[in-house]
Amino acid sequence: MEPFLTVRGVVAPMLAANIDTDVIMPKQFLKGIDRQGLGRGVFFDQRFLKSGAPDPTFVLNQPPWQDARFLAVGPNFGCGSSREHAVWGLKQLGIRALIGTTFAGIFFDNCHRNGLLTVELDRDAFAGFAALAEDPALAEIAIDLEQQRIEMPAGRVFEFAITPIEKDALLRGLDAIGSTLEKVDLIDAFEKRHLTANPWLA
């Protein structure tokens, strides 16, 4: 997994509430057995016209947002289906972080397993951030994960919270399975106790 240190780039506003993973990655892109080719699927029904040409009214097709590396998103972003394809696609499109107020639980986990940072601001801070993010002249920002800061043009700074365990995994780009397997003795011991006490679980 690609580590997340300081990332600079354009932030695009997508402030509607409850943008679900069906919208982020429609079903026709879920038919593979690998992770390839999902960048094109992201927001497909909104991003492209029937002809296949980009829809000029969609935010990610407009300058300066067509090169966005960050999205400012409405509440409950990523709700619905568990499909990790949504996160793979966002990453393939070049998105490195999402800034919002709340993220759906499975989607949040999927982001963090793939090095996609989710920044949760409280409602007031987010309102301030979103107002700036909607201004195309202020789109260039930087996110410094180590310092837990979003740096906006003209010296505006938003600080954010993240748990140490999540931060560490993102900063180091850890292989989660490898780390867990280091605890295999603990798992073995737990399993033995658990299955002896509850034999119907064996």
Binding site: D22, K31, I33, R83, E84, F190
Partner: protein, 475 residues
């Protein structure tokens, strides 16, 4: 040793291998996993690439449900190229890693969340994960079920554990008797409407109260299934004698002495008196009416006697924009009575409402009647076993005589990953769980409601109050 604890906290404590920090992250032991063909391929691919194995193959169950055909004369192959590829790879992975696998023509096949309880694969007190958000369904059996992404599926296959963050707890209490024609689907839709589509984000819900206790296990599954539409990543109902009766004798349920030992342990699975929840919400079941959605989020619902709302009345500008967008997508004018909304399609199916009790209820409404000629109506049973049971009870014939397509089991039009897709502009009364933009096909308009209400709409050609039909039938 402990103070009073909630059922959720007891289950997490009993499955914690070790804490990972002091912020609620734990390494959680998972007892069972259900696998499907479309979220698992990259997990198996990851294991293969890293040369890792599956730690306890017997704790996973693999079912094909999303991409298979539901045609009455379907074959062993999935209808589209991508789906066929996924099914082949799924079968190959289950063989290679020694995981029990139900293929398309297996008599035990069906939607994963219908099949797993049916097989007795999920038991009270278990922690169960699956690469599908509706894994919350298993709360009806007193098991903590939750959806996970593909990276976590791989992690679970390899280690039998997940890195898990403990949730906050929300107690939803539903007291009183539901009115005539009101189902468990209406109860959960009322909860979602009240707390919102993200009202339970970050929480596990425990449902209790006399209205919940009165429900059958299948009706409780509908409640726990849709809890995820309020954002909950776990839904529990403390197990009772109905759960034990439901499970006794099922293929994977324990037997003999171990069964008796298990039931004795399951009786302890309840929230201690005095345990504190982070939040409590109460509903009076007697005030709940049949609900239908008008928007593109499951919390955008009105009573069947209500009207499409007017965005002009919404003070918050972003919420007003969202409302306008939802109504534009749905092709609905503010103020339209819900019963004036005409449909082109009716769909009864999905892991929310496709079990035998749902089908019996539908049959009681449509028996001897005809589907409106402007409507294409489909019934897709939740499992091949449900279909066989419905055939044996004569329900299949009732559906066919009434003009419904009576199909084979699978997810089907709940998300249209197979060949069951609608056209832009189609409007579908649906017993499913998500009315998202494009869920049943690009540009398709979905109205969620109970299976009884879908049946009524299929007969009338527009949304209508099932209570009126039933009163007529009684008179």
């Amino acid at each position: 040793m402990h103070g009073p604890r909630t059922l959720y906290d007891k289950l997490i404590d009993a499955h914690t291998v070790c804490p990972l920090d002091d912020r609620g992250h734990v390494l959680l032991y998972v007892d069972r996993q259900v696998l499907n063909e479309y979220t698992s391929p990259q997990a198996f691919g990851g294991l293969r690439e890293a040369g890792r194995g599956v730690r306890r193959p017997q704790t996973h169950l693999a079912v094909v449900d999303h991409v298979n055909s539901t045609s009455p004369r379907r074959r062993a192959v999935a209808p589209q190229e991508g789906g066929a590829l996924q099914v082949n790879y799924f079968a190959e992975n289950c063989r290679a890693f020694d995981i029990e696998y139900f293929d398309i023509l297996d008599p035990r096949q069906g939607i994963e969340h219908v099949v797993a309880p049916e097989q007795g694969f999920v038991l009270p007190g278990m922690v169960v994960a699956a690469g599908d958000s509706h894994t919350t369904t298993y709360g009806a059996l007193g098991a903590l079920g939750f959806g996970i992404g593909t990276s976590s599926i791989e992690h679970l296959l390899a280690t039998q554990t997940l890195s898990y963050k403990r949730l906050k707890t929300l107690h939803v209490i539903v007291e009183g008797a539901t009115g005539f024609g009101v189902t468990s689907k209406d109860i959960i839709m009322a909860v979602i409407r009240q707390i919102g589509a993200s009202g339970a984000t970050g929480y596990a819900i425990e449902f209790s109260g006399s209205a919940i206790a009165a429900l059958s296990i299948e009706a409780r599954m509908t409640i726990c299934n849709m809890a995820v539409e309020a954002g909950a990543r776990g839904a529990l109902i403390a197990p009772d004698h109905k759960v034990y009766d439901y499970l006794a004798g099922r293929p994977r349920a324990p037997r003999g002495n171990i069964w008796r030992q298990a039931v004795a342990a399951w009786r302890q699975l309840k929230t201690d008196p005095g345990a504190r929840f982070d939040r409590v919400v109460s509903l009076d079941a007697g005030t709940i009416e049949p609900l239908v959605t008008w928007g593109t989020s499951p919390d955008q619902a009105a009573t069947i006697g209500g009207r499409v709302p007017d965005p002009a009345g919404e003070p918050d500008p972003q919420r007003r924009r969202d409302l306008v967008r939802a109504l534009r997508y749905m092709g609905l004018k503010p103020g339209t009575p819900m019963i004036d909304v005409e449909i082109t399609h009716a769909f009864i199916g999905s892991c929310t409402n496709s079990r035998i009790e749902d089908l019996r209820e539908v049959a009681a409404i449509v028996k001897g009647k005809r589907v409106c000629e402007t409507v294409r109506a489909m019934i897709v049973p939740g499992s091949t076993a449900v279909r066989a049971q419905a055939q044996a009870e004569g329900l299949g014939q009732i559906f066919v005589d009434a003009g419904f397509e009576w199909r084979q089991s699978g997810c089907s039009m709940c998300l249209g990953m197979n060949d069951d897709v609608l056209k832009p502009g189609d409007r579908c009364a649906s017993s499913t769980n998500r009315n998202f933009e494009g869920r049943q096909g690009a540009g398709v308009r979905t109205h969620l409601m109970s299976p009884a209400m879908v049946a009524a709409a299929a007969l009338c050609g527009h949304l209508c109050d099932v209570r009126a039909l039933r009163r007529e039938a009684r008179a």
